[in-house]
Structure formats: structure tokens, C-alpha cells
Symmetry: C2
DNA sequence: TTTGCATTGTTGTTTAATCAACTATTTATG
DNA sequence: CATAAATAGTTGATTAAACAACAATGCAAA
């Protein structure tokens, strides 16, 4: 991509690198708080993996949330402290592994959380066509591919 | 936007809400570190405003970096500690205001930093057309508008 | 003029990301 | 089998964001 007049470096970075992301994050965290969900969006992203399929390793959660191991360790610490998940031993006997298991309380959060998320997405993407979103997704994948290849 | 098959909520959030942003941030911060620039991308975003026009209030820097006042206070603390900027009194006599002024050291960083940023953008946007980028920018603006209006 | 409101900036607390160094366990290989 | 290398997770230090509460200053309206 050629950077041309009207496409300033600062705008590029500001848009791609955090502004949208931060705005949505702030918005969602406020909604979570208002609904007294008791979780943050980061914790939600971990729970999302488990709602899809329970009993995953921390490494699996790293790969699917794009967070690093240290971050996942600490998020699981919080979720465990708040009684939403528990760390379990691998039935297969691999003692390096923790399997993360949803508690009842963790399972019950799904409905409310997803309702809030859906509402927010609808709000955010009012006037955004599905076609546009496909374009956006594809650009993102290109960018991530370009960067991760070289790192 | 209707969420359809193939456009999972999780994907939406993962893409919009942090993954691209985090990846680029990580990439840039590593480059900055490798080049021994001595600043982070967050500090760079503040400096960018000052390189464009020196002697701005902290409030101006908030508005242009989309950070809140507390964040700017602390970023300026760091930049000042590292000798890149100084807080100055308003010549107009408004004692609520700090004017942030680039030091020689702060001015000198621009060339090197911008070189790294340009290289990274070229790398990241290899195979992204300008048209695509315009689409992306417009979607972002819509989304931000939708959310900020209601908040 | 003074009283109230708006603006600017700071501070404390909590949450989370990054990076590097580390432990424990498992697997490969020589 | 023994040793090296890979994998899984933890911990400490540093950076930064969000939110709320706060202080100081400036301005406007009664």
C-alpha cells in the first residue's frame, strides 16, 4: 500500500492500532459493569472458548485468544478466584497440563454475556454492510499475516 | 449488520477488538526496542502530536491521541523523566494549563522513529490496496460514531 | 461580588500485556 | 538408557489503560 495524501501515518496507526479496539473495549466493559456481570472483556474472551468446548489446556486458550501464556495464567487465576472456572489434572496423566473447567457459575454467565455482546455489535455495526465486514476481515488477515510471518 | 453464518461473534470481537491492534503494537514496540529508541508506541503517539506542533496542552494531547487525562499525565511524566519533553507554564497566564515542549532530544527522535514506522507500515500493508484501506477507514469511522454517540 | 459550574491536571486502585527468567514434565535422539 | 530439547505453566518487573475522586484555577450569571 502506498501512503498518499490524506492517509497520514498517524491516522493509519491511530485507526488500526488501538482506537477502534479501545473504544469498543471501553464500551463493552462499561456494559458488563452496568449489568453487574462481574467479568471484563478479557475474561469474557477466555470464557468464550470454554463455552464452546469445556476442559481446555491453558495453551489452547492462549492460541484461541491470541494472548500469551503469562496473560492466560493470570486471567485463569482471576476466573478461578471468582469461582467461574477450576484448574483440573489431566486424566491422561500429563502433569504439565492444567485442564480448565467451567463451574456452574461460569456456565450460567453465557446467556447474559452473549446478550450484551450481541446488542453492542448491533449498535456498533449499524450501517455497516456484511460485504464491508468481509472486506475488513480480509484486510486484517492480510496485515496479521504480513507481520507475523516476519516475526 | 446482520451476523450471519461464517461471521461469528467471537471472530468479530477478536478481529475488531484487539487482535490486529495488539499484533501491530507488539511488532512496533519490538522494532523500537531493537533500534534502541528508548520509547514505546504509546509515547510515540504523544510525540507525534508534538512533532506536528510543539507546545500543546495535555488536554490537546488527550484529544489527539484518544487517551484520557490520567494516561496523558503519566505518559508525560515518563517523557519528561527521560528528557524528551518539559512541562512549561502558559505565557497567557492560565495556571491550569501545562504546555508540553519538546527538548532537543525529543526533536531528534523523529527521524529514526518515523523511519521504523514507515517500514512497518509497508511491511504490514503489503498486498493491501489503497481502496481497501479507504473502505476500512470508513467502516472504522462508522463504528466509532455508532458507539460514541450512545455513550 | 460571590456562588456555582466548567476546565485542566493529578493521584490511587485495579486490570491486563509484554518480556525474560524460571521450574517441572515429557519426548526425542544419540 | 542418558542427555538434550521441547512443551506447559508460573513469577517478577515494567508499561499502560480505565475509572473515580480530587485540587486548583478560570469564567459566567445572579
Amino acid at each position: 500500500m502506498e501512503l498518499e495524501k490524506g492517509l497520514e501515518i498517524k491516522d493509519f496507526i491511530s485507526l488500526i492500532n488501538g482506537r477502534v479496539s479501545a473504544t469498543i473495549n471501553r464500551h463493552l466493559n462499561r456494559r458488563f459493569k452496568a449489568a453487574e456481570l462481574g467479568i471484563t472483556t478479557e475474561q469474557w474472551s477466555v470464557l468464550t472458548c470454554l463455552w464452546e468446548k469445556d476442559m481446555q489446556t491453558q495453551q489452547y486458550l492462549c492460541d484461541h485468544t491470541f494472548k500469551d501464556r503469562a496473560s492466560i495464567t493470570r486471567l485463569i487465576d482471576v476466573l478461578e478466584k471468582n469461582g467461574l472456572v477450576v484448574r483440573m489434572a489431566d486424566p491422561g496423566g500429563d502433569r504439565r497440563i492444567n485442564l480448565i473447567h467451567l463451574t456452574e457459575k461460569g456456565i450460567e454467565l453465557e446467556t447474559t454475556a452473549n446478550k450484551i455482546i450481541r446488542e453492542s455489535i448491533e449498535l456498533a455495526t449499524k450501517d455497516v454492510t456484511t460485504t464491508d465486514f468481509v472486506t475488513l476481515t480480509s484486510i486484517f488477515k492480510t496485515i496479521i499475516g504480513n507481520i507475523e510471518d516476519e516475526n
